[in-house]
Amino acid sequence: MMLTLTDIRKHFGATRALDGVTLAVRPGRVHALVGENGAGKSTLMHVLAGGLRADAGTMTIGDAPYTPAGPLEAREAGIALIHQELSLCDHLTVAENILLGREPRRGGRYDRAAARSEAARVLAPFHHPELHPDRGVGDLPIAARQVVEICRAVSAQARVVLMDEPTSSLPREDVERLFGLIRRLRSDGVAVVYISHFLEEVRAIADDLSILRDGRTVWTGTADALTDAQIISHMVGRDVAELFPTREHLPADTIRLDAAGVSVGGRVRDASLRVRAGEVLGIAGLVGAGRTELLRGLMGLEDRPVSGRLSVDGHVVSLESRTPWTRLAAGLGYLSEDRKGEGLTLPMSLADNLTCTRYATVSRRGVIDGRAQRTQGQRWLERLKVKARTPLQAVRTLSGGNQQKVALGRLLHQEASVWLLDEPTRGVDVGSKVHLYEAIAAAADAGCAVVIVSSYLPELFGLCDSLAVMSRGRLTSSAPLSAWTPESVMAAAIGTAQ
């Protein structure tokens, strides 16, 4: 039975997440869904799985209209979702998580034995003996959690399985096992929707392909009908090259950031990096490689023990102490990959968020000069072309891309000499990316040292002077961009280069 979506729309405040999506998912086929960050893929999956209700549009399964009032009804209709952001209950066991909401019962009791054997059954293809059904989920590594998440959807015996970036934190072997599983589902007549940013995965597994852009289906057909370049151009809507600013200045010789032998709680081992004034260093790697931990460790934000040496503009900063304020004082500026969690204070005003790392310019003896804060905030808003009415409005009311610009604007205000940017364009739309890239390039040209962690290779190739790759907690030494090709970066990231 076919699942069809017609002209689905969904908006969050002023953001149009879905702006007319049309899709047909056939049983026994794998339908890949690709699109840029923020194209609306996850939103679409939530609409399908009953977590969100569409503003407009129709969905049908076979001939029957499908209008799930909640996740329960979606389940009953045979639709299961693997969430992009992992959603497990830390206090329950693997088996309990896999069977949550569909617990087997016997005589009113929770049938532990049945749950255990069902969990063992769906876990079997992954060959992870340590992933025992009775094990608590709380202390599992992220990859194992992803496997549990996958097994939960598989176990639901669904007719349609939605996979939202299921491989984002899986090691290669597990990706192969997942593919085996997907092929089996396909042969059983299950329809699979597969979302991924990795085109080679799409090539390997997909039968059909749809491309989303700005909340709309811009192309749909069989997966082998398009070349990679064609897919990308459909995704982005224009030539990627013109996204990036041309850099005028060359890096100077002064070293601004010098970190050596940095280890972060076993997740990052012995990483060293040096960044000169005016240099943009990119750090590539697979999700889960430990890049975030490296930056957070440098900033004193990690709860895990951190060791190593760090100096900023020649001043030594202790890495052991978990004191972000000493890093800020030393001139480090940080942009978190987790905008909501660790980046912005959403209920507070744009002006507050922009100036909070350096109140000195807008206050005297601890008293804030409201007018100075407004005018300075306004300046950054204009510089970054943030679409906002007033610096006094709450950040919460901005669209994601504009929020991200505010987060970057904070570094401009801080006049940080070293920028540590973690996924600076995550969730940023194509148009907004240009403004961010320009701001980053301008900062480097003005003498800042910039470190960019990104999972988006074209971004690194378009913006950086040099590149280092992180693989399973180890960082290669950085080399000029010209020494890298996308293939060699990929190889280093996977860990086959050595």
Binding site: S87, L100, R102, D139
Partner: protein, 320 residues
């Protein structure tokens, strides 16, 4: 392996705490035999019944990530209703049922306020704290309600009449309910979902658990236990007292937390909570036996609550 061992050890921590409290008092006492006598044990057990029943109910609520500040008021209200029932000539069993059901209804209203009006449990039950107390005073006409002698009065008596019972019937009822609650929490789908909603409400909802309805059930079920606790309170006082049990919610919450429950949700055991209730009862009893003034008790119990939770946090931080 070692993680299971550690988990067992961590479950044992409250027991060790209890043993420690008893041992310390026995050693300090000038008459340990008296302190450790069956008679004293009976007295402590009878005194614990009210907080223990409350702690069983509160364990469900706290595991589900909620809190209930209206426990004391619910106890008073249920006690008044029971006493009124007896006074007005209903059969004792009818009066007791009315008291228990009253508690359940208060709980359901709490659950509805939290899920429908979308107020935090702290606020919803803070409001109910005043409302239930007010209703209790209203029903009782602002006085204590004296009820004629019935078997209800024997429920929480220290020395039970058929002496082979050894301890008050209320203690046995608590034990039976504790076993039932443990079963419910550990062995049934309902129990697993209570943990799930406290552990990750969004995930539970995404998996098709009807979290709102579940919460109403949880508060309602806990309310029944608070109602029974109110019946016990009435039995102990032999009257319905609308001003009784002020602040009992804090004792009940402290019992759950000392027993390993986490106010962040997802954690807690019935056995732990009961031990938490016993720890506090033995602390109170022991301090009195030592002839210590009230203030020493209050200080010690305050310190123990904080240290017990801090030790728990530290133990877990080490474990990860």
């Amino acid at each position: 392996m070692s993680s299971t061992f550690r988990a067992r050890l961590s479950a044992l921590a409250p027991v060790l705490g209890l043993v420690l409290v008893i041992a310390v008092f026995a050693m300090m006492s000038d008459d340990p035999a008296q302190y450790l006598s069956p008679r004293n044990l009976r007295i402590v057990l009878a005194q614990t019944v009210i907080v223990a029943l409350g702690a069983i109910g509160m364990t469900f609520i706290i595991i589900s990530g909620g809190i209930d500040l209206a426990v004391g008021s619910t106890i008073a209200l249920a006690g008044v209703v029971t006493a009124l029932g007896v006074r007005d000539g209903y059969a004792p069993i009818v009066a007791v049922s009315a008291g228990v059901v009253t508690g359940g209804l208060v709980g359901i209203v709490n659950g509805l306020a939290i899920t429908r009006l979308k107020v935090l449990p702290f606020i919803g039950t803070l409001g109910m704290l005043g409302i239930a107390r007010g209703v209790a005073k209203w029903l009782a006409n602002q006085q204590t309600v004296n009820a004629p002698e019935t078997w209800i009065n024997e429920l929480a008596v220290t020395f039970p009449t058929p002496s082979w019972l050894l301890v008050a019937p209320g203690v046995w009822i608590s034990v039976v309910l504790a076993v039932a609650a443990t079963f419910l929490l550990q062995q049934t789908v309902f129990g697993r979902r209570v943990f799930a909603v406290g552990s990750n409400e969004a995930a539970a909802r995404a998996c098709g658990v009807q979290t709102d309805r579940l919460k109403v059930w949880i508060y309602g079920l806990a309310g029944l236990l608070f109602g029974l606790s109110g019946v016990m309170q009435m039995s102990r006082l032999r009257q319905g007292d609308p001003t009784v049990a002020i602040g009992t919610e804090l004792d009940v919450i402290a019992a759950v937390v000392i027993g390993g429950g986490s106010l962040a949700g997802g954690e807690g055991t019935i056995a732990g909570s009961l031990i938490g209730a016993l720890v506090m009862a033995f602390l109170r009893n022991g301090s009195q036996q030592m002839g210590w003034p009230n203030y020493v008790q209050e200080i010690i119990i305050g310190v123990i609550i904080v240290l017990a939770v801090a030790a728990d946090r530290a133990r877990r931080a080490r474990a990860t």
